[in-house]
């Protein structure tokens, strides 16, 4: 489709700007002004509405398609959350208000949301307290590792290393690294779980902590997770829980009870907030008792008189990691989501998420390799290596699915599985939908043998076919100037 710039017509305007009611054209020194106006498009409101409406229609989204993108927990996003986030009482609230004299009293409603969200997440995860400030999961990881570092610094220990299993999401090593740690990778054993021997060998005094995703990115729950935490604590390290997969155990198992010291959650996964085409999300971080002093400022507290306030005076805090209180509107949506589910709801969520994943796994294992046949949790990882023998790779299967009206699963991650297809249906999807998906997958598996070319040609139903990624990287055509 034409770029918005290509639709521009000189002199056209989309919005009437209010006439000035003050003496206009005050003169700023010429050398402080730009030479020509920014080359933004010139369009009517109709042009803009048609352009972006048309663009939206080129997308697959949860509202339009089954979207079993593994590790991303693509739930349905309740419309009521979107509506409430638009309430002027929340949307028009300036973040600096509470920092004015007595300003806290002007934002009691918003502070209550943050405070109660903290309490509910504590209860769900078994942690001593949460910070709502991290603006995504990876940001939460960084925040968590920064607290880990502050803790060790405080105790004078010279810890240099963070251990991370090879099945971990890329953000884990990246976060540990930019926080200043050396990252060492722990291999997985044949059962797909982090190898305890390997871990044992690597657990030295330099180890500041271990980052674990449980269930891991294969959708497998590590039965030794408690022991692992103890091992880590044994070398005075901290156990970090990547909560991106909490949906599998929500309401049943609490990372804090297992022994984890730091937990980050992805509200845009487990708690139903929209993924927005790649954010905004929110990555609250929970910590155990001994890490409380290191939480970022500010912290929302409840006073004796029942009012809420922001606390800044925390000498051991790692400081500011966000300009204010996190992605408030996202936190608000997750807060609503939890209130609507309540206790029983959360248990139903994990039950159905796990049932759906196992249903797909069992229905497809005859047609695709299943490297780890045991019970999975919220997602299952298949391998297309059998199809690869006919030249049909995970990528080809993904593209064929698009033509059949399904968003593809996550491909080639985790990398420890060859030709991996990581399928996460979530609890929101129905048997009918999954049956249709299963049928499609089976048809593709058959076609892989009988008519591989048709799969190689996919997708044909989309506005564009497979794109030349190498040319993209080579040409670096990344802006229309």
């Amino acid at each position: 489709m034409k770029l918005v710039f290509e639709k521009s017509v000189a002199g056209r305007m989309g919005l009437r700007i209010t006439k000035s009611d003050v003496p206009t054209g005050i003169h700023l020194r010429d050398d402080l002004l730009r030479e020509r106006p920014a080359a933004l498009p010139e369009l009517s409101e109709l042009d803009v509405v048609r352009h972006y409406t048309a663009l939206s229609r080129l997308n697959f989204g949860v509202d339009t398609h089954f979207y079993p993108l593994g590790s991303c927990t693509m739930k349905y996003n309740p419309k009521v959350c979107e509506r409430i986030a638009r309430y002027p009482g929340f949307a028009h609230l300036h973040p600096l208000l509470p920092q004015l004299r007595l300003g806290g009293m002007l934002t009691q409603g918003a502070l209550q949301v943050l405070y109660e969200m903290d309490l509910m997440l504590r209860e769900i995860c078994g942690m001593a307290a949460f910070t709502m400030q991290p603006m995504a999961g990876a940001h939460g990881e960084l925040t968590g590792i920064m607290m880990m570092a502050a803790y060790h610094r405080d105790r004078g220990g010279k810890k240099t290393t963070v251990l991370i299993p090879d099945s971990a999401h890329g953000t884990n090593p990246a976060s540990a690294a930019i926080a200043g740690y050396t990252v060492r990778t722990v291999p997985s054993d044949t059962s797909g779980l982090m190898s305890i021997e390997a871990l044992g060998k690597m657990l030295t005094d330099e180890v500041a902590g271990v980052m674990l995703t449980c269930p891991n990115t294969l959708g497998l729950f590590n039965p030794w997770v408690k022991q692992i935490c103890e091992l880590v604590h044994g070398v005075d390290g901290l156990a970090y829980y990547d909560g991106a997969n909490l949906n599998a155990i929500a309401g049943r198992v609490r990372p804090g009870d297992i022994g984890f010291d730091i937990v980050h959650l992805n509200l845009h996964k487990t708690f139903g907030t929209p993924h927005g085409g790649g954010g905004p999300g929110a990555g609250p971080v929970g910590v155990c008792e001994k890490l409380l002093p290191y939480l970022p400022v500010s912290v929302v507290v409840k006073r004796q008189d029942g009012t809420f306030a922001l606390e800044y005076d925390r000498p051991k805090s790692i400081g500011y990691i966000a300009p204010f209180y996190g992605n408030f509107a996202v936190i608000l949506k997750a807060y609503i989501y939890i209130l609507m589910l309540g206790r029983e709801g959360l248990e139903r969520v994990s039950e159905n998420a796990v049932l759906n994943a196992n249903y797909i796994k069992e229905k497809l294992k005859a047609y695709y390799d299943l490297p780890y046949p045991q019970i999975c949790k919220h997602e299952c990882v298949l391998s297309a290596s059998r199809q690869a023998e006919h030249g049909i790779h995970a990528l080809d299967i993904a593209k064929a699915l698009i033509d059949m009206g399904f968003h593809p699963p996550t491909m080639y991650f985790p990398s420890i599985v060859k030709e991996s297809l990581m399928i996460e249906p979530t609890e929101c999807e129905s048997k009918e939908t999954m049956d249709a998906f299963i049928e499609a997958m089976i048809e593709i598996a058959k076609k892989a043998e009988t008519d591989p070319d048709s799969i190689k040609a996919a997708p044909i139903s989309t506005p564009v076919g497979r794109l030349d990624e190498t040319a993209a990287a080579r040409n670096m055509d990344i802006a229309d100037l």
Partner: protein, 443 residues
């Protein structure tokens, strides 16, 4: 359950078909790890949550007339912006890993990158950062990588919120941070040039800066480049409707907070960090980047590119750990800028400046209210000194229905009497006049 589709009937069927019981589903988890059930409130109906949240929203005072800025502004948002961004196809999609069924998101991001470049007069931009603060921090990290150096010079006219964030993030890194004190409201040339040496990776400044003052960093760019350092400029996108661009000044990396481009204030987020740079530095840039390419039939399309910089491929060697960013906010800014367009943004920026200077005249006409800095070149925000404690004065004006500004004592010692006052195109002459009256009255 409202958000779970399957019925008990279907659950039974499915379990039967795969030969499992409900308990089997969790048999891989050691019994002792199970909790005894959570202490959470009873599920609420939609009707109940709407009642509850309407009540909480009612406890937030959103009817104050805002002269509060500090980098986050009350700009007008055309109705078409949320209407379009609110289309399910946009906000229920995720990162466009599968380009063929994500062209909507991808083209919008490409248009966003292009608009950021056109606004800042830079060559390349990424798909977004979390916010203006993390964007500035990432820019600094990027400069360290590019130069292989570890010293950074930052003027304290940069937003103090960003500065404290950078201090937090660099706490465990071996970085030499030199913070210079502004010279009468502008980046302090003397001290910056003194600190700038061949160990310096970057100089960090802002325009307009936290005080609202406008500057031209052409000289600093030259000085930095001479020492092999980069100039990083944090900017306020609305101001670029009329102000000289960082690109024109010779900046190497430009960042900023995009909230003013169509996003509500929402008590602090979600907002939008943006980052632009020169083409030669793209491979060191963090975050998603969308590129234009073609399919086998030669049809033009868009796809994520240069992913070898990113965490999911490079892991601990990635340029950043960022994964989910602020895509929907970038879309919001793109729609906003399309609607305002070339002329609309220029007029909006001019209005902000005009109304601010009107406010300046009205307020400084009040006995005892004086500009804190000599430089009279500001965009839409100004620092005025009032008789007595500025925080006190603000408190009194809140009772009159005004958020009159931000008292600077919180971040700048010796500025107990100083108030940072912001004026956007939404403020009317009448509101400004009323503020002047009320301020005079409470002094």
């Amino acid at each position: 359950m409202p958000f779970i589709s399957n019925t008990d009937e279907q659950r039974k069927e499915m379990l039967a078909e795969i030969g499992l019981s409900a308990d089997d589903l969790f048999m891989d988890i050691p019994r002792e790890l199970f909790c005894k059930g959570l202490n959470l409130p009873e599920p609420m109906s939609e009707q109940q949550v709407r009642g509850h949240l309407a009540e909480l929203a009612g406890k937030n005072y959103v009817n104050l007339t805002l002269f509060l800025g500090g980098g986050f502004y009350d700009h007008f948002i055309p109705a078409a912006v949320p209407e379009l961004v609110g289309r399910g196809e946009f906000y229920t999609a995720y990162t466009p890993y599968q380009p063929e069924c994500s062209q909507g998101t991808l083209q919008a991001i490409f248009e966003f990158q292009s608009m950021i470049c056109r606004l800042t007069e830079m060559e390349a931009a990424n798909a977004s950062m979390y916010d203006g603060g993390t964007a500035l921090y990432e820019a600094m990290m990027m400069a360290l990588r590019i130069t292989g150096r570890n010293k950074v010079v930052m003027d304290d006219s940069v937003n103090p919120i960003y500065r404290v964030m950078i201090h937090s993030y660099t706490r465990n890194l071996r970085i030499e941070m030199v913070e210079t004190n502004n010279a009468d409201g502008l980046a302090n040339r003397q001290t910056i040039l003194k600190a700038l040496d061949d160990k310096t990776a970057a100089v960090l400044v802002a325009n307009p800066n936290f005080f609202g003052c406008i500057d031209d960093f052409t000289d600093l760019a030259a000085a930095a480049h001479e020492k092999g350092a980069l100039l990083i400029v944090s900017c306020y996108p609305i101001s670029l409707g009329i102000l000289k661009t960082p690109g024109a000044m010779g900046a190497d990396i430009v960042t900023g907070e995009g909230q003013s481009l169509g996003m509500p204030m929402s008590f602090g987020g979600p907002y939008l960090g943006f980052m632009a740079t020169r083409k030669k530095y793209v491979r060191q840039m963090p975050g998603r980047i969308v590129g234009r390419t073609t399919d086998k039939q030669g049809r033009c399309g868009f796809t994520l590119t240069l992913q070898t910089r990113e965490q999911h491929i490079r892991r601990e060697k990635a340029t950043s750990n960022i994964c989910s960013n602020e895509a929907l906010c970038a879309l919001t800014a793109t729609v906003y800028l399309s609607l305002l367009g070339k002329e609309g943004l220029r007029q909006t920026a001019q209005l902000c400046a005009d109304k601010a200077s009107y406010a300046y005249q009205r307020l400084t006409a009040i006995p005892g209210v004086v500009p804190h800095f000599k430089s009279k070149w500001f965009f839409n925000e100004m620092v005025l000194d009032v008789p007595g404690d500025a925080a006190e004065v603000v408190g009194r004006l809140i009772e009159k229905g005004f958020a009159a500004g931000f008292p600077l004592s919180r971040y700048y010692k010796g500025m107990e009497n100083s108030l940072l006052i912001a004026v956007t195109e939404k403020r009317t002459k009448q509101q400004i006049g009323k503020l002047a009256e009320e301020l005079e009255a409470v002094l």
